[in-house]
Symmetry: C2
Subunit: 195 residues, 2 copies
């Protein structure tokens, strides 16, 4: 097959796949996990049922793929922030602020049951490892320049950040999220105003 033609097919497959993911997510957040069928998702995505089944075996697989796409996008955002110029402490603060906002918005969409379903997935464990590694590298850098406490290993500090900031999912306002970030930074010995 000529290269250009295979690229066109790839692009087409990605477009269909994206349409399926959007449709599945929209229907499930609107109606709840249990009441959404493959037929409804196919209709909303504008494709036939047979085509849908060539892409995904069931509703759970669609949601897991959509969630994985979200997670990858968030990791991308955080990686960009980490690689900005500036002091390590400043970049750490930017990364943690963004992560807290991600948790805050995540707490706002989706249902309880959806969360329980998705957070059992293997890709979530992988994403947590990637986040911990991303935080950990910045923490090592910041500790090396004396910007934070050096009495606790970086991987423990990273895990603390990951868990503490997850509290943002239950907070009522973005102001409360800012306060959570400020408390979390204080735990690291990284003062809020120093950055």
């Amino acid at each position: 097959m000529p290269k250009l033609w295979s690229e066109t097919i790839d692009a087409h497959r990605r477009t269909v796949r994206d349409a399926i993911l959007e449709a599945g997510w929209a229907l499930v957040t609107e109606r709840g996990l249990m009441s959404v069928t493959m037929t409804q998702i196919a209709a909303k995505a504008g494709i036939g049922r047979a085509t849908l089944y060539k892409y995904f075996p069931d509703v759970e697989a669609i949601l897991a793929a959509q969630h994985e796409r979200h997670v990858a996008a968030h990791l991308g955002e955080l990686t960009v922030l980490r690689e900005q110029p500036g002091a390590a402490g400043q970049r750490l603060k930017a990364v943690l602020e963004r992560y807290a906002l991600i948790c805050y918005h995540r707490g706002r969409h989706g249902t309880e049951e959806l969360g329980a379903l998705l957070h059992r997935g293997e890709h979530v464990a992988r994403a947590e490892q990637q986040l911990t590694a991303l935080f950990g590298e910045l923490l090592v850098e910041a500790a090396a320049t004396g910007e934070l406490r050096d009495d606790v290993p970086a991987d423990e500090l990273a895990s603390y950040c990951l868990h503490a900031l997850a509290a943002a999912g239950g907070l009522p306002t973005e102001e409360a999220v800012d306060r959570l970030v400020s408390i979390t930074l204080a735990g690291l010995g990284l003062s809020d105003s120093a950055t």
Copy 2:
């Protein structure tokens, strides 16, 4: 029915119930959730299958009840610590240390799938509310005596504690748990040595 006799029946029922819970928990942690049957639980608890079904409809219900019993015991322990004599900051520290150890030990027993199953339960949401309230009251007391930061509402600080200390579930040693508690207290503005 005379009172003493009905007390005897109640005590008997509690004994049977406890034996079922212990048997179910032991089998599931040993063999995994999917491979344990009601018949095996009845045999291990030393009762007949028909009797078992008078107490619980299925394996999940047994595990949920056992988990609920654990949670209630932990809440009891923490309440005792909260009500000790002493400064609020000191009692807060004792409660948070104990809670971190509970999370640490919880991370050590049980399987992933078990955790996912149990943490979807309604009684877990209720337990989290009770924990947040318990932490929150102590935080209000400690803030009133000037022992910690007063720029963040107590319920937000309580939620921060609950989430940050949950990191103990993935830590390798009790020393790491101590460090986590010390970081978390620093976030509250409650110094480790002050207490």
